[in-house]
């Protein structure tokens, strides 16, 4: 009897505690009113006072170290504190860092996500006017904008890039010579002929990996050539009603399936991660590899003059070039106490010759900014020079598209990686790939 009583009363107490806690926590979690960023008078003059600026950056991205060092050399009253975390941790924690009581002034932020809606990012529009950034390439800045209803590509400016990347194809010239290839392919069909020749000669046509999703450099490089650029971009910018399921995207994905069936990729592709495929190409494995300008310095060091870099070829010879490229995007926290100073630093990175040189030397990316400014000096004939030329070509062709991995916060890990693993091992068709990614997209955007 006693046992029964106590058991029942324990349950009652437990339930009461649980409900009391629920009551304490209030009705709905979260804050409803986003904080405003105003209250600071916009100034393009740098303060004389001692200022410490804080930056939250990813590990393995040394350019911020060099830039801040140079800035402090030029302006000794401004010093920096940089905290680093892995890309994955930083991306996951960014909203919480920004919402905290003491947010970093500047933060590496690959996807804007809900941060604008939640009032966590400083609106840079006043500075855009004050500094005259309208002279900078609009196509480079548009992915860094977001409208009030959460659509990227237009609206206010919330990010700037520490370097603007471009992607393309690296070719091992040793293998090319063996196969009698004298210059980069001008069309996709020409590239396929070269890969058939490589396959026949026992040379791996494409060095790629997909244990962490990087084969999507190849997938999207092909889709870019078949898809309508604006339509593709509107999807990446989350415009209402935009879809991934277009005939162009399906054609690109089906091409990947065809390449997988023909054995153009390594047989253990799903066991190869980014680091491994870069190492294996550096060691001479593979005729082609798809990667960005950031890998140029490493490949140059490993392969010397036996490697070249070019833009992914279009379907028809002479068509304009389309390539993925993106800013190494950083945002200013709405809660920053040093808005004028941190934006001065950002403007300086785009305009100061030393800073622009640092961007190119360390990242191999284009420094962006006003195109009429002189380009930093690079070694003639080097891969980095090629990368800058490619950036200029894409600029001239207005052919830059964002990385589809940046479409939503969860789409890369949640859908693009697992589905591409299935696609490159011939488990699903290109159409299924496109349909499944779109289904995930609708669920994430709607939910």
């Amino acid at each position: 009897m006693r046992l029964h009583m106590s058991r029942r009363s324990r349950t009652v107490v437990g339930a009461a505690v649980a409900f009391a806690m629920l009551g304490l926590a209030g009705c709905a979690p979260g804050a409803s009113a986003p904080e405003e960023t105003d209250g600071v008078e916009v100034s393009t003059e740098l303060t004389d006072e001692e200022v410490v600026l804080t930056i939250a950056d990813e590990t393995g991205f040394p350019v911020t170290d060099a830039l801040t060092e140079e800035f402090t050399r030029q302006y000794p009253n401004v010093t920096f504190e940089i905290t680093r975390d892995t890309f994955q941790n930083l991306t996951a924690n960014a909203p919480r860092l920004l919402a905290g009581a003491n947010p970093p002034d500047l933060i590496r932020l690959p996807t804007i996500g809900d941060t604008v809606k939640d009032g966590l990012l400083a609106n840079l529009d006043p500075y855009y006017e004050a500094y005259g950034w309208d002279a900078w390439p609009a196509s480079q800045l548009s992915p860094l904008r977001m409208s009030e209803d959460g659509v990227r590509g237009s609206g206010s400016l919330y990010q700037l890039g520490l370097g603007y990347s471009v992607t393309g194809i690296y070719m091992n010239l040793n293998h090319a010579e063996t196969l009698g290839i004298t210059e980069p392919p001008k069309t996709i069909a020409e590239m396929e002929e070269m890969m058939d020749a490589a396959k026949a000669a026992g040379i791996l046509p494409i060095m790629a990996g997909d244990s962490d999703g990087v084969v999507n450099f190849v997938v999207q490089a092909l889709m870019n050539q078949y898809a309508d650029q604006d339509e593709f971009l509107s999807w990446m910018f989350n415009e209402p009603g935009a879809t991934y399921n277009t005939e162009g995207n399906v054609q690109g994905a089906e091409k990947i399936r065809e390449w997988a069936d023909k054995g153009y990729f390594p047989s253990d592709i799903n066991a190869i991660d980014y680091f491994t495929f870069v190492t294996r190409f550096s060691e001479g494995e593979g005729l082609f590899t798809f990667n960005g300008n950031w890998a140029a310095a490493g490949y140059q060091e490993a392969l010397g003059d036996d490697v070249t870099f070019f833009l992914a070829p279009p379907v028809n010879e002479g068509d304009r070039f389309i390539a993925m490229g993106a800013a190494n995007s950083f945002s200013v926290a709405a809660g920053s106490d040093n808005l004028n100073e941190i934006v001065y630093f950002l403007n300086w990175i785009h305009t100061n010759p030393e800073a622009r040189q640092i961007i190119v030397d360390i990242t191999g990316a284009s420094p962006g900014g006003d195109p009429s400014l002189p380009l930093p000096e690079v070694e003639p004939g080097s891969l980095i020079e090629k990368a800058l030329e490619m950036s200029a070509q894409i600029g001239a062709d207005n052919g830059q598209v964002d990385f589809m991995a940046n479409t939503t916060a969860g789409i890369y890990a949640g859908s693009i990686i697992p589905e591409s693993q299935l696609l490159v091992t011939s488990q699903i068709t290109g159409r299924e790939f496109v349909e499944r990614v779109q289904a995930f997209y609708e669920q994430e955007i709607g939910g």
Binding site: M1, R2, G14, V17, A18, M21, L22, A25, A28, P29, G30, A31, S32, P34, T91, A92, N93, P95, R96, A99, G113, D114, K117, D118, L120, S211, D212, D268, I269, N270, A271, T408, A409, G410, A413, G414, I417, P418, E419, Q421, L422, T425, Q427, Q443, E444, G447
Partner: protein
């Protein structure tokens, strides 16, 4: 109550007062533990239940959505697939380690040499002190195309079996499961060995005098004697299987495709990458209910056996 019907009313009142005082002292004694439990277990659990009814990104305003998150958990094929995978892992985290532990413990019990006994125990327990993340890294090297597993297969003429174990759709889940088996077998063996030590030696002597063999001895004496330990181990390892995160996060990230996707990894992604705290909470609550549904009957079975 233990008081009899013949007691007088004042005595009954005094007894009740004493019981109340004892109750109060009891409550005071458990108060510190209760406060800690309330803060770190009950409160997060309660907020988790609360979050699960909202569409919330963790920062901004939340919208009440009722049972929608639960419906998603129970209908989305990706989420259901992850739950299915975690049940496959039960075979590797529970059945294999507990089974192997039983065999090893019975064998070690018969060891005469004290030094060899201690050495065997140490070697078996060693994986338990290695962090799971480190085990995940070491094993993914061994499972790689050029790793130790394939090298051994090539050396003994079974090279045709060689494959990138963690990237093959058929072998990825068993391969990560075996990492768990490797880690948990030591714990099972050592705990079962302690349990066997508590069994009265005279029982073994008696059954041997009756002419029973090794197997008879195992079924009649060892197994029933280990009932408590087995219940604890099955509970622990089942929870480990259903809540796996570190091994998968380090070795496969859920791939290839979704072959090794488990709830732990998905909850982390949904909550922290996709910032869908409501759905992540609902998924967590569903997993908690599943674990309880599996573990409570085991606990009850062990207790019934005691009576």
């Amino acid at each position: 109550m233990t008081t009899t019907s013949t007691s007088s009313a004042p005595r009954r009142a005094a007894a009740r007062a004493a019981a109340r005082r004892a109750d109060l002292a009891g409550w005071l004694l458990v108060l510190p533990a209760l406060a800690a439990y309330g803060t770190f277990v009950i409160y997060p659990l309660a907020t988790g239940i609360q979050f699960s009814f909202y569409d919330w990104n963790g920062i901004g305003a939340a919208t009440w959505v009722g049972l929608e998150n639960y419906i998603t958990v129970l209908t989305n094929p990706d989420l259901l697939g992850a739950i299915r995978n975690s049940f496959v892992l039960v075979a590797f985290f529970t059945i294999i380690p507990v089974g192997t532990g039983l065999v090893l413990a019975t064998l070690i019990r018969t060891m005469r040499d004290g030094a060899a006994l201690r050495a065997a125990q140490t070697v078996l327990f060693l994986p338990q002190i290695i962090p799971l993340a480190a085990a995940g890294i070491a094993w993914s090297w061994m499972y790689a195309q050029t790793g130790a597993v394939n090298q051994i297969l090539n050396a003994i003429g079974l090279g045709f079996l060689a494959r990138p174990w963690l990237a093959d759709y058929a072998t990825a889940l068993p391969a990560v499961g075996l990492i768990g088996s490797w880690v948990l077998t030591g714990l099972c063996t050592v705990l079962l060995l302690t349990g066997i030590g508590k069994i009265d030696v005279s029982l073994y002597e008696a059954i041997r005098l009756d002419g029973a063999g090794w197997f008879r001895e195992f079924i009649t004496i060892t197994l029933p004697g280990l009932r408590q330990e087995l219940a604890v181990l099955v509970t622990l390892t089942m929870i480990a299987a259903l809540s796996t995160f570190d091994i998968i996060y380090i070795s496969t990230q859920g791939g290839p495709g979704r072959a090794t996707l488990v709830p732990g990894l998905l909850i982390f992604r949904i909550g922290f990458t996709q910032s869908d705290v409501g759905l992540a909470s609902a998924f967590g609550i569903v997993m908690m209910v599943l674990v309880l549904a599996l573990v409570l009957p085991i606990q009850r079975l062990a207790r019934i056996g005691d009576r």
